[in-house]
């Protein structure tokens, strides 16, 4: 029995590797229950080329105009990869994005929310990372219910 334990563990971790490929979009995603089971051995670190910085601009429609929302003030917690709302598995996931919009809709007198993804190239060899060649991508514009 104990001899089989390392083999069983290796098979589980193989499943987790397959789940990583699915979450990177390099293979078809595993069914949700399997993806959840694979969470504990799912290692994805610095694997992709990330040539650009990105940020999320949030605005709310109130008093007849789009007004900026300070996301950093509203969600102050920082992980080692920045604020949680800036993770692609949050803003790029429709259900999680809907939860974010739902939360922003609770701001007083908010009729609609608009989210825009901002991207600008990283500058190699320098600590200064000026914002230039800014690209904007509208992620969502939704009426609050």
């Amino acid at each position: 029995m104990t001899r089989l334990a390392p083999v069983a563990l290796a098979l589980y971790l193989l499943l987790c590797y397959r789940a990583s490929l699915g979450s990177l979009g390099r293979a078809s995603p595993l069914p949700a229950p399997l993806q959840r089971v694979a969470w504990l051995g799912h290692w994805r670190m610095f694997t992709e080329l990330r040539e650009a910085h990105h940020d999320l601009r949030a605005e709310r429609w109130a008093d007849g105009a789009w007004q900026p929302i300070d996301l950093r003030a509203r969600y102050p917690r920082l992980g080692d990869d920045g604020p949680g709302y800036l993770r692609d598995d949050v803003y790029a996931d429709p259900a999680r994005r809907a939860a974010l919009i739902g939360d922003l809709c609770t701001l007083p007198e908010t009729a609609a929310i608009r989210l825009t993804l901002l991207r600008w190239p990283k500058t190699l060899g320098s600590t200064a990372q000026p914002v230039h060649s800014l690209q904007e991508q509208r992620l969502a514009e939704e009426v609050c219910r």
Binding site: H42, R44, M45, F46, R77, L78, G79, R87, T127
Partner: protein, 283 residues
């Protein structure tokens, strides 16, 4: 001192090193708990827990969980019969903080869970580990977990991202907005030959780990290379406590004979330090 099985001293050292790494992480988490309690409604927790409002909005139970985790760590440091319950108490409190307060559950947290589970399978509650052999199964399981950690991330880089071979992916990570490590990292990002060299060292280490960790000759230099890799990452990037947890488990991976030889050498050269270390770690 020698014989079949694995050197118990590796587990004794790993218990203390892992408890130290987890303590640093736990103290750092106090800030995350405070920030989580300030945040209004939404948490951004990765993993099986879905994004939702935290269940715990009151400060007292959140800090109680944090305090229980700290108590658990004191038990892990104390060792013997306190070690396993202490580590499990810390793990339970941590999972509570993740699930109820919304603290992040990413790669470092997952590695910490593996570390606790594997240490609890090892004979960390026994005395005299520095001087005897123990069953090999916990070390074999640790080798599988660490092998998967490195091989999985190495394969993802080597097969799925050509920019890792050229060093470009590393260069851009060195100027990341959130985890870049200052002037040295920024300078290095502009040195394409150096980033290519470091990238290939990383790939070679990650891909080779699973093959070389079990060989007596390559085991100690491989672990030394791992130490250098994690020290380099720590110097150049601010990526949390994953490296601390991983390196803390290295003593348990050390080849039994190499571990025993290192201990004997320490005893010959620095007898007082060795005696103090043994009293502290192996009581």
């Amino acid at each position: 001192m020698s014989g079949a099985g694995h050197w118990g001293g590796g587990w004794a050292l790993s218990r203390v090193a892992f408890a130290s790494a987890v303590l640093l992480c736990h103290l750092d988490r106090a800030g995350a708990v405070a920030a989580a309690l300030q945040a209004p409604a939404l948490r951004f927790t990765a993993g099986p827990l879905y994004l939702a409002g935290p269940a715990l909005r009151e400060a007292a139970p959140a800090w109680l969980l944090w305090g229980l985790g700290l108590m658990g760590l004191l038990g892990a440091f104390r060792g013997r019969g306190w070690a396993r319950p202490g580590l499990l108490l810390w793990l339970g409190a941590s999972l509570g903080l993740i699930a109820l307060v919304g603290l992040p559950a990413r790669v470092p947290e997952r590695m910490a869970i593996w570390g606790v589970l594997l240490l609890c399978l090892a004979p960390i509650d026994e005395a005299g580990l520095l001087h005897r052999r123990v069953g090999a199964l916990p070390r074999q399981l640790l080798m599988v977990v660490m092998g998967s950690l490195y091989l999985s991330t190495g394969l993802l880089k080597a097969l799925e991202e050509p920019a890792w071979w050229s060093g470009e992916a590393l260069a851009y990570d060195l100027v990341d907005r959130w985890h870049a490590g200052g002037a040295l990292a920024a300078w290095l990002s502009g040195q394409s030959a150096l980033t290519a060299l470091l990238s290939r060292f990383t790939l070679a280490f990650e891909l080779g780990f699973v093959l070389l960790i079990g060989l007596r000759r390559t085991n100690p230099p491989l672990l030394l290379a791992g130490l250098l890799l994690h020290a380099g990452i720590g110097l150049l990037m601010d990526v949390g406590f994953l490296g601390h947890f991983v390196v803390a488990l290295y003593p348990a991976l050390l080849d039994p004979e190499a571990g025993e030889a290192a201990l004997a050498s320490l005893r010959r050269r620095l007898p007082r330090l060795s005696a103090a270390l043994e009293r502290w770690i192996d009581r």
